[in-house]
Symmetry: C2
Subunit: 251 residues, 2 copies
């Protein structure tokens, strides 16, 4: 846990034209966000960018100064369009070269004769990068300063988070509480806004939904402090009851 208890933030960068063109629906951002949230790291931004070197270099050099942690997914495979490792090297002004430890890992992982040129390419990284081991398919991700580079294939990415955990120092985990109501947003907008004004430390979100043909609203309270959420919750339940609005079970 972070000693000074300041909010620890992060950005997730998804690298890949296939997500931007709408061909692939990303499955990593939501998963990583929840996982980081539990470690007390708040994801404050997500970007999906093109796999073009200039784009990646500029983006990384902008965000690594603004966020405590930067996570990238995608672009560390064996083909010509996998340019994350080279781009990160460039962003940090580091050599892009064969990582000896990664080379050994993959040399052992593949059968004799199968460790071909494409696979060897996956061991080229920014010099002195710290490896993120990959228990699924061998090829590691890597860390340079506060930038963590992970693969794009969701099952592989997920299998690498166990080892990664120890490299992240989070703050207090953010607790959330949801109140689901059979109402519409405009009915509760005013009293909810008053509760927000009185409880600046709690983030109050209001999200309309349609379920089984009926309208409803989810109110989500988020804070690092359970007692503040509890306070806020009772203030909301009070005006809900006055207005005769029904609480429902959404799921």
């Amino acid at each position: 846990m972070n000693k000074n208890n300041k909010k620890v933030n992060a950005i997730i960068i998804l690298i890949g034209n296939e997500i931007l063109s709408g061909r692939t629906q990303d499955a990593n951002a939501t998963f990583l966000s929840k996982w980081l949230n539990e470690l007390g790291v708040r994801v404050e931004e997500v970007r999906i960018i093109l796999d073009e070197q200039k784009v990646i270099v500029n983006c990384i050099n902008e965000v690594r100064k603004k966020f405590k942690y930067v996570f990238t997914t995608g672009g560390i495979g064996p083909t010509h369009d996998d340019i994350t490792s080279e781009s990160i090297s460039k962003a940090f002004g580091l050599k892009y070269e064969i990582h000896k430890e990664a080379f050994k890992i993959l040399e052992n992982y593949y059968k004799t004769g199968e460790f071909n040129e494409g696979r060897q390419r996956m061991t080229k990284m920014p010099s002195k990068a710290k490896l993120i081991l990959n228990p699924t398919s061998g090829a590691p991700g890597f860390i340079v300063e506060n930038v963590f580079c992970l693969p794009g294939v969701p099952s592989i990415l997920r299998s690498m988070l166990g080892v990664l955990k120890n490299n992240i120092i989070g703050g207090k985990p953010i607790i959330s509480h949801t109140i689901n109501l059979r109402t519409v947003e405009s009915e509760i907008a005013k009293p909810l806004s008053e509760v927000q004004d009185k409880n600046k430390d709690v983030e109050i979100g209001s999200y309309p939904f349609f379920k089984a043909g009926k309208l409803g609203v989810s109110i989500v309270l988020r804070s690092e402090d359970q007692s503040k959420i509890d306070d806020c919750n009772s203030q909301i339940l009070k005006f809900i009851s006055k207005k005769n609005i029904k609480q429902i079970n959404k799921d």
Copy 2:
């Protein structure tokens, strides 16, 4: 169609803490990307940002200069956390005030007595904004210069695209062609890279997949020019056949 045929680009900004916290899986970015692609507009970046005024203002003022079109989704509802309209006003240095036309629309849309304070809030916009009509639930989106503000609820957003279409001048639509192979990326990395080197105008992507327990690779060719895609395709089929790699039907 854009006369000079230059690539027309866009960025999509998803505004909302609920997507960042992992609570809500976004459904708008992929849909909008595909829709814009058909209009000849290439989405080159997607960002998911916090609903904090400073964050939104800075983001909009950065990207509206860099991209031909900026689309935002979310934050134009009736509650206190809907701050997109006010933030866009601030970004452009415009007054945030009741939009007369929007006010009339919602006054007619709701029954007498139901056009409450929360709903009236949805008619506050940057002064002189151009409306994007909403055939589903009344409350319009709006356009300021090259920034298009849409709601976050996917069904409502989609219903508004029909009218929006006429406000977008795209370039040539981007055509794509996919070749699915029973192989692994490292097997084709080298010859594929050579094809890319010889065909700089075609964007060639390589995406591994797992389906029914088997590994495969999708090669995706993208270009505005069908004949260039065809050329590229035959060059790939040539090395595929030499290597005895099987083409498969993925779906």
